[in-house]
């Protein structure tokens, strides 16, 4: 017997899987990529109807009022079909910020209802190209400065921007079509676009201010990091299934290559990697739902992302090798999974980064 929580998650998983499969699975994602990247507006509405975006939003604000574990279930399904819709960005970052800072704002209902998509602009690029201290300013209702690594910048209707106001940090909303906003698009390996935003006295509406903004951002990034890990788990799961099917059918020397022991043992290693990642990441998400200390939540999120990235790296790279030459072609779907894994790994920190964060957090906790 599964507990009622587990049963809820099982049903959620099933309905999310059916929704994505009915929409066309990974084939749909390929078509969208070939059409120039971006996502499908009709799919956004369908996901909203299923309650996907509001999964962690309280019921009184129009959401499902479930936890991050439920968000992870959905993220895994997104990963399985490499769907380009900004599910993790929305559940983790934009709604992660808004539900903590201004849950009654009209945008919450609009995002949950699939009427609008907001991207979150919080990081900035420093002179050496890496992430740097924020210097974007907000004063007299206007934004000035730049933001980098904005996922979903291409299709979003607006941006939630973290900036320094006259008396501390602020969260402001800038319309995507605002004057004096320029967006430089950087195409990613999977065909998606990351935006580099430049504001020059760009009009924006203040949504929240004070230390709560920084706190909410920390927690939203924790959530998004763990959800991105779940998306990688789903991706790895499907990439392995595709590869397993392939080695069972591809014949060389008059036998399926999956009958050769060296291939079998490699496949087993990938399978074990996938199972460990799935168990670890799901455990983290469930623990994060019951954990209130942001530092512990950050450590947990790092554990999840470190594991998910290292598993996804190993599985997608080995998947190409096990496919042989056709794995190197665009025609086979396995390459789409590799490309998506590259993007999801780099976003919000890769495995080496998160091991460092995890280790430091553990040391800090040990010392305390």
């Amino acid at each position: 017997m599964l507990s009622s929580d587990q049963e809820d998650l099982r049903l959620l998983r099933e309905s999310a899987r059916i929704l994505f499969e009915r929409a066309g699975g990974s084939g749909r994602s390929r078509k969208l990529r070939d059409a120039g990247g971006g996502w499908d507006a009709a799919m956004i509405r369908e996901l909203a109807e299923a309650g996907v975006f509001g999964v962690t939003v309280p019921e009184e604000n129009g959401g499902l009022g479930m936890g991050l574990a439920a968000g992870g279930v959905i993220a895994e399904e997104v990963g399985r079909v490499i769907a380009p819709e900004p599910v993790v960005v929305t559940v983790g970052l934009s709604l992660g910020l808004l539900r903590r800072l201004c849950p009654d704002h009209e945008k919450v209902g609009q995002i949950v209802g699939g009427e609008t998509v907001l991207a979150v602009a919080w990081q900035e690029r420093g002179p050496n190209g890496g992430p740097a201290e924020a210097s974007c300013r907000y004063t007299d209702g206007k934004l000035t400065g730049g933001k980098a690594w904005v996922v979903g910048a291409d299709g979003a209707d607006g941006f939630l921007v973290l900036a320094e106001g006259d008396s501390g940090p602020v969260l402001v909303l800038a319309d995507a079509k605002a004057n004096m906003l320029s967006i430089k698009k950087k195409t990613q390996a999977d065909g998606s676009v990351m935006g580099e935003l430049s504001f020059s006295e760009t009009p924006a509406e203040q949504l929240a201010e004070g230390p709560a903004v920084q706190d909410a951002l920390t927690e939203a990034v924790n959530d998004a990091t763990a959800l991105a890990a779940a998306e990688l788990v789903g991706l790895s799961d499907r990439a392995f299934e595709i590869t397993l099917d392939y080695i069972k059918t591809r014949e060389q020397f008059d036998k399926p290559i999956g009958s050769f022991q060296v291939i079998q043992h490699r496949a087993v290693d990938l399978h074990v990697m996938r199972e460990v990642a799935q168990a670890g990441v799901r455990e983290v998400l469930a623990q994060m739902d019951h954990e209130t200390d942001p530092k512990t939540r950050a450590r947990l999120a790092s554990r999840a992302k470190a594991r998910a990235v290292s598993a996804a790296k190993k599985i997608t790279r080995d998947a190409i090798q096990l496919h042989g030459a056709v794995g190197y072609t665009d025609e086979f779907d396995i390459g789409l999974y590799l490309n998506r894994a590259l993007v999801l790994s780099a976003w919000l920190g890769d495995d080496a980064y998160h091991r460092r964060v995890w280790f430091d957090a553990r040391e800090e906790e040990g010392a305390a």
């Binding site: 017997m1 599964l2 397993l244 080695i247 069972k248 036998k255 399926p256 999956g258 009958s259 050769f260 022991q261 291939i263 079998q264 043992h265 496949a267 087993v268 290693d269 399978h271 074990v272 199972e275 460990v276 990642a277 168990a279 670890g280 799901r282 455990e283 554990r303 470190a306 594991r307 080496a352 091991r355 460092r356 995890w358 280790f359 553990r362 040391e363």
Partner: protein
């Protein structure tokens, strides 16, 4: 008779923990070697008086009758406190075999003697030509009057030099189409002229493993357990619970704890490369524990475990080995030194951990065999 299974998990855990913490001799905690019976006899008497020698056996045979869920808790607490499993071959292997396949007479005679350790058992499975390919075993047992006469050789017989009896797989029919057929389960006394035991010195200098030679050794025919020539199926049936036990996180968790205190004392964490490798190993242990609980939950829900449980053993043993490699690395120029290395006021025996980790990927079905099993039974790969 206490019905342990009626207790809540937390109550039961508390009860077990209290008993171990109060009664288990401090000097026997986390023993680095397998003890001879004399060394732990005092503890065994206490356990026997408590009725806790055989947690998995049904209560009617003198066991605790624990459900799978409670049994896991019992073992977790045992490992947590570093309680030595003692000379438990009889309890772990022979008892379940006799309970499942033995006659009433065999049960009445052998089971109480296992509980009291009047008989101490060793396991005679492997042979020089039958390791991973166990069914290739050749030790013969031929009927002769009321006895079987045994000829052949067993190897890797753990603690045979401190055992009174051996339970063994022997070939009773050499002419079968498949080598898995014609194998039987036999119990035999060790103290007789036809049995010769020689210890094997391992890489670490220990002598826990033995070779056992049978030269016209005898055992009464009534010591055949189960049907003649059906031993292989019975042996497989016995292994189901062991497969999660052998993949439990405890070995790696204990080693990680040792590594951490050693590395900290040695200042190894000043090196960012070492920090990363430590983090990798620590996360490997944490995420393995998450997977282990998934299987343990399955058991707790009363489901049977499939062949996929083998992955626990693969992961945790290889992880254990990586951890012990890191200990050697942290030891620097002392990495080749036998005995405890002093860090602060504790001694950490780096090489002993290293050696202890080596056979874990070999015993209980080598990790290569486990991969074969997973690839066919779980992934459905052909050939």
């Amino acid at each position: 008779m206490t019905d342990w299974n009626a207790m809540s998990d937390a109550e039961f855990r508390k009860e077990v923990r209290q008993f171990f913490e109060a009664e288990y001799p401090e000097e026997l905690r986390h023993l680095p070697h397998r003890p001879k019976f004399a060394e732990i006899e005092h503890w065994h008497r206490k356990l026997h008086a408590k009725g806790w020698v055989a947690p998995a056996w049904p209560a009617e045979y003198g066991g605790m009758g624990l459900s799978a869920a409670k049994l896991l808790i019992f073992y977790e607490e045992q490992q947590r406190w570093g309680v030595n499993r003692g000379r438990d071959m009889g309890v772990q292997m022979v008892g379940p075999l006799i309970i499942k396949f033995g006659t009433q007479e065999q049960k009445d005679y052998w089971l109480p003697r296992i509980l009291s350790c009047e008989d101490i058992w060793c396991q005679g499975y492997s042979e020089p030509g039958a390791g991973s390919d166990l069914a290739n075993l050749r030790t013969r047992a031929e009927a002769d009057g009321d006895d079987f006469v045994i000829n052949g050789q067993k190897i890797w017989t753990t603690m045979a030099h401190d055992a009174t009896h051996i339970f063994m797989l022997v070939r009773t029919d050499p002419d079968t189409p498949r080598k898995q057929q014609g194998i039987s389960f036999l119990l035999a006394p060790m103290d007789q002229p036809g049995v010769d035991v020689r210890t094997i010195t391992t890489l670490s200098g220990e002598t826990e493993f033995c070779e056992v030679f049978f030269d016209n050794a005898r055992t009464p025919q009534k010591n055949l357990v189960g049907e003649l020539n059906k031993g292989w199926t019975m042996a497989k049936a016995l292994l189901s619970f062991e497969r999660i036990f052998i993949g439990s996180p405890s070995l790696a968790q204990n080693a990680l704890g040792q590594l951490e205190s050693f590395a900290r004392g040695r200042g190894a964490f000043d090196d960012p490369v070492f920090r990363d490798r430590f983090a990798q190993a620590a996360l490997d242990v944490e995420d393995h524990a998450a997977l282990y609980s998934r299987f343990a939950d399955q058991l707790k829900r009363g489901e049977t475990l499939g062949a996929d449980v083998s992955m626990l053993k693969i992961w945790v043993t290889e992880c254990f080995q990586r951890i012990t490699e890191l200990m050697i690395e942290a030891a620097g120029p002392d990495g080749g030194t036998i005995g405890p290395l002093q860090v602060g006021n504790v001694g950490v025996d780096v090489l002993s951990s290293f050696y202890k980790a080596r056979p874990t990927t070999i015993y209980g079905g080598s990790n290569e065999i486990q991969r074969n099993i997973l690839s066919k039974a779980v992934l459905g790969l052909p050939g």
